[in-house]
């Protein structure tokens, strides 16, 4: 298996927590970004709303 001898030079007590922390921080960052930058997460967690997606504005005519 590729890289299987890395634990000969990286202490598992250091490397494994670093690996798990990297996954956790990356995952948390993505989900935090979703909750901050979108409105549907908050609406969904509040519950009660059947229709979430909003239709784009139908009135696209340019006024002079």
């Amino acid at each position: 298996m590729i890289y299987s001898k890395m634990w000969c030079v990286v202490k598992p007590s250091v490397g494994i927590p670093v690996f798990i922390a990297a996954v956790a921080i990356a995952s948390f960052s993505v989900h935090l970004a979703l909750t901050i930058n979108t409105s549907w997460v908050k609406n969904f967690l509040n519950g009660g709303a059947k229709v979430v997606a909003a239709a784009p504005a139908a009135d696209a005519t340019v006024k002079k």
Partner: protein, 50 residues
């Protein structure tokens, strides 16, 4: 020449290192499958990507 009984600086032999790595890979695969299933549920039951 590889000496399988050699103890490396981390205190492990090559066989022990490979055993740790096997378990870490297996744990990552199980985590990945659970995460994929959770994302499938989120896709089905939440407005995500709709």
């Amino acid at each position: 020449m590889s000496n399988s009984d050699k103890v490396w600086p981390t205190g492990l032999t090559e066989a022990e290192s490979e055993e740790i790595h096997r378990n870490l890979i297996q744990g990552t695969q199980i985590f990945g499958m659970i995460a994929a299933f959770a994302h499938l549920l989120a896709y089905i039951y939440s407005p995500w990507l709709k």
